[in-house]
């Protein structure tokens, strides 16, 4: 019977017009719509692509919706310092390099301090919609502190979405409590489903009053993670799976992980590059284990995308981050400053901001579609990557020299798709070019054909041109996706007229270290 169904599906495809196929190709994956078998896209899915109850949950969540991450901010409170497993990419003396910043969090908070901080931040930043507990240890190795914080926040700020991150070891024991507290987003870090692979990543776990090591430890961890995932999905809680890509250890295996979590109903898979600088003192850092290159990471994400939605906008932020993804305003909200603040929770102002964003999002979607329609009839097989300088809002509104990161879009006749971001050190410091110069930025953008900016000086523009990257100011303050498509159309025209020659770009470097405001 299932074979018959497949045949039927196939023949149905045959009757689809080329136009429909092209449109559906343009809208599949993370560009716009979740296709059949996908639970809608963590990246750019809109209200029409997802069941209303799921859209309600993700539309304002910067981590679960690529679209939302341009507009909405999150905060983490560092109330959970304890952990119950050891990872080779983490050194607790310097905190957890992959799940938060590679250094100790600025300060640990009590649940009471954390709740006050949440209200202070929410009053100052109306786009802050999500509170996450992501360590610096494991949220569920500190259950009392984690749940107390959620309880206090719900009392004063009931509109803030709650989410937590865990390694999954204790997850099955707390699923009921998570559901009861209306936490509707949980992230589980799953780096393997094969304990033999796990033994190379986890030296030990602490479980049932015992320290387990080797394959036995990873077997327990993996079983608990997958059980926890199934239990959450059964309760309608959205689950994001984070995986650290460790070349030579679990890179190929992550395709198996992807299948395992997809089949158990995970909503989104986030494959992140290993951070392993020697100075963090992690086991991987000391053994010289390298992280992936930008194109290695993208190739793995692309390989998994047919199976489920991939998150590509993760900034691997620290456990006390505050602000839009890619920015960190935590220094404005130290305990000392928060205690001195006069805070009033202004629900009306927050809702007004959020309504404004809804309208803006619609405008962005319309503009993108209008631009995409202009590509009608184009058949070039060319695919390029374009870097964007933005400080949020879905608009090209950052100067080249002031950019902490560039967002990377892949564009072809099928449309524009967000594929990642590249952290860079500021090129411009106090009006002068930085000491390290433009070289690291050229490496970070080496796989891009162009960079679209609000403004750029002559000097860096020439350096970029020398490296084969075109710097473009024409789209300053325009919507990102619309501009990327418009640039691509113009690029094809110039290639068509032989004004320029299309050159395939190489690989790029991923800057080590999670985001910290320098």
């Amino acid at each position: 019977m299932s074979k018959l169904l497949q045949l039927h599906d196939f023949s149905a495809l045959g009757t689809t017009s080329f136009e429909q196929m092209r449109n559906s190709a343009a809208q599949s994956g993370c560009s716009s719509k979740g296709g059949a078998g996908k639970t809608g896209c963590g990246s750019a899915a809109g209200p029409s692509d997802l069941p209303p109850e799921i859209w309600e949950k993700v539309k304002n969540h910067p981590c679960y919706s690529e679209q939302a991450h341009h507009h909405f901010a999150r905060m983490h409170v560092a109330v959970a310092p304890a952990c119950n497993i050891q990872c080779n990419y983490c050194n607790r003396k310097y905190d957890c390099a992959n799940e938060s910043r590679p250094g100790v969090v600025s300060e640990k908070l009590t649940p009471e301090q954390a709740a006050r901080k949440v209200v202070a931040v929410a009053s100052t930043i109306p786009q802050m919609t999500v509170l996450g507990i992501a360590g610096p240890g494991d949220a569920l190795a500190n259950p009392a502190k984690t749940f107390k914080t959620f309880e206090l926040v719900t009392e004063t700020a009931p509109d803030i979405k709650l989410c937590l991150s865990t390694n999954g070891l204790m997850l099955p024991d707390y699923v009921e409590q998570i559901a009861a507290m209306k936490v509707d987003h949980v992230t589980i870090t799953i780096n393997m489903v094969d304990p033999e692979v796990g033994a190379k990543i986890y030296p030990w776990i602490f479980y049932n009053h015992r320290r387990y090591t080797g394959v036995e430890a990873s077997k327990i961890l993996s079983e608990r993670q997958l059980l926890g995932l199934e239990m959450l999905v059964a309760r309608g809680i959205l689950v994001k799976v984070n995986s650290v890509m460790i070349p030579g250890i679990n890179d190929e295996h992550l395709i198996e992980v992807n299948k395992a979590v997809k089949s158990r109903g995970a909503f989104l898979h986030n494959i992140m590059p290993l951070i392993s600088e020697a100075e963090h003192g992690t086991a991987f850092g000391l053994s010289g284990q390298r992280g992936p290159t930008a194109q290695e990471l993208k190739a793995l994400q692309d390989a998994c995308e047919g199976e489920m939605n991939m998150m590509r906008h993760c900034r691997q932020c620290r456990a006390d981050a505050v602000g839009l993804l890619g920015e960190d305003r935590s220094a404005e909200f130290t305990t000392e400053k928060v205690m001195a603040m006069d805070v009033e929770y202004d629900l009306a102002a927050r809702q007004a901001y959020q309504a404004k964003v809804e309208a803006e999002r619609d405008a962005i979607a319309v503009a993108k579609q209008r631009e995409l329609d202009k590509l009608e009839g184009e058949t070039a097989s060319i695919k390029i990557q374009v870097a964007i300088a933005t400080k949020g809002g879905g608009v090209i509104n950052e100067h080249f020299g002031h950019a902490h990161e560039f967002q990377i879009y892949e564009v072809s006749t099928a449309g524009a798709k967000f594929v990642g971001h590249r952290r860079v050190d500021l090129y411009c410091e106090g009006g002068y070019a930085s000491e390290t110069g433009i070289e690291p930025i050229l490496k970070a953008l080496n796989d891009c054909t162009a960079v679209l900016v609000a403004k750029i000086g002559m000097c860096p523009k020439d350096s970029l041109a020398g490296a084969g990257i075109e710097a473009v100011e024409t789209y300053a303050f325009e919507y990102i996706e619309q501009s990327v498509i418009a640039y691509f159309k113009e690029y094809l025209e110039r290639v068509g007229k032989s004004e320029i020659r299309h050159v395939a770009r190489g690989d790029a470097t991923i800057r080590q270290g999670a985001f910290t405001e320098a």
Binding site: P81, A82, C83, K93, P136, G137, N142, F206, H209
Partner: protein
């Protein structure tokens, strides 16, 4: 009679505190300390000392040589 926590190694993560069957561990100036009069080295409770097993930094929870080893009654 007891374990002690090497303060210079302790990250203050608090993982040990709730694991101690004798409630002998408490926070002091950002790191954790063990009250030697309460520590039983987990004898009679668990096969391995819990603070040692859960501590993320090896060599942080160690036998205090200045105190005689614990003897089960």
């Amino acid at each position: 009679m007891a374990y002690k926590i090497v303060a210079s190694q302790c990250t203050g993560c608090s993982a040990c505190e709730p694991q101690c069957p004798n409630v002998a561990i408490f926070e002091k100036a950002g790191t954790f300390v063990i009250d030697p009069s309460k520590c039983s080295e987990c004898v009679g409770h668990f096969d391995e000392p819990q603070c040692v097993a859960v501590c993320p930094v090896d060599g942080t929870c160690v036998i205090d040589p200045t105190v005689p080893r614990y003897q089960a009654a």
